[in-house]
């Protein structure tokens, strides 16, 4: 009986995957493709200095010395929310670049392979963002229970799911610059401003 359930679950998940692909193909056929000329304006700038300061263990150490436990917990939660916003922007930018990448290469009639540098950088960043958002979501869900539950420090989030987030995002920026240098050199400045 358990085997039948497992088999049917696998078959049903396959059917659902097909429905998803068909729905996506239909949506793609109906909706116009994103205009590559507009995509850079959808990027949200990521404040690199803020990101580094949030992930800096020394800052956290200094906070621990200068604040009482209650204020430290509140400050750490504030920093978590800030970092969540930065990570949201990183994820958003990576998906904008993915659409942009598609649109650019659709223009050139050169659909991309899965292992293009930009695409792999996008996957890495999204992988990291998914892991961090999950962790932050759980951490922020934990009640601020009078110090009974420890508030973790953000420095541990530099690496999530084995991916170094800032490094991956930097790689994404370099890959995006390379791609844009080849295809949209006059939009490089707008891109660097947006990322």
């Amino acid at each position: 009986m358990y085997l039948s359930i497992a088999t049917w679950l696998i078959v049903a998940s396959s059917a659902l995957a097909f429905i998803y692909i068909l729905r996506r193909a239909y949506a793609r056929a109906r909706d116009p493709k994103p205009d590559p000329n507009d995509a850079v304006h959808y990027l949200y700038p990521v404040d690199w200095a803020l990101l580094e300061s949030l992930l800096d263990p020394a800052t956290d150490f200094a906070l621990r010395w200068s604040l009482d436990p209650r204020a430290l917990r509140a400050e750490r939660r504030r920093r978590m929310r800030l970092y969540r916003e930065l990570v949201r922007r990183m994820a958003h930018n990576s998906s904008v670049l993915a659409d942009f990448d598609d649109a650019l290469f659709a223009d050139c009639h050169l659909p991309r392979g899965p292992d293009s540098k930009l695409r792999q950088a996008i996957i890495k960043v999204r992988f990291y963002c998914a892991g961090v958002r999950l962790k932050l979501g759980v951490w922020l869900l934990l009640p601020d229970a009078f110090g009974l539950v420890l508030t973790p420090d953000l420095a541990s989030l530099r690496k999530a799911v084995e991916v170094d987030g800032p490094k991956a995002y930097d790689e994404l920026r370099v890959a995006a610059v390379e791609a844009f240098a080849r295809l949209r050199p006059n939009e490089l400045e707008a891109l660097t401003r947006g990322l």
Binding site: L3, I21, W48, A98, D102, R112, G113, R126, E178, A181
Partner: protein, 243 residues
Amino acid sequence: MSSLLWLIPTGLLAVLLGLMLRGRAYRAWPWFFSYVAFGISADVARFASRNYPRPHYFIYWLTDAGYAVLGALAMYEILRKVLRGLAGIWWTHLIFPAVVAIGVGLSLWRAQLVPPQVHGRLLPCIVVGEIAVRFVQIQVFVGLVGFIALFGFRWRQYPLGIAAGFGLYSTVALLITTRLSDIGTRFTFLWGIISLVAYSVTVLIWIGFFSVPQKEQPPLDPKVAKHYIALLERYLNVLRRTR
């Protein structure tokens, strides 16, 4: 006429092979290319031996084993390509072995509960292996679709095309093969017809994907890359100082 019907997938596979040769897809997808080439030769061998029951019997089951092995290798190829960017993450190397272990486990579990109703020593192993590969192919397909949904992967890509084809065929074949395993060779005729239709649709999916050539990004001139990366660094430095 009915014999010729069996050659429809072979003709479609020949078209696919031509498309792959034209697009030089064999360089990026050697195992899938081998699968397609093997498929054509296996079908021709099966067709040529159809009037000789004993050789046909052996050819049929041996080519079935070949399909299963090459199908599994094609799945490995897909995962390796898709996860290349995450190669630094140690556990991504465990995904394929884990998927295979689940497939083999489910197939062995099934074989223990419902022993395959085929005779000989080799045939039950082939049926068990075939069911295991079907499970693997469906898992890879579902995983890849999940990957696309989560990570914004482009949908019209060769890995998805290959996995979608295998996913469709495996979903149909898994149900049918398990029925064959339960009922025995009495089910062979119906298995053949449904399998023919599903396989033809599968090859059409592959043709649809491979009809659009995918070229890798040409390498950027290192001097130009260096210049633009330096430009980006300068810009970021200015940005940092102004904040």
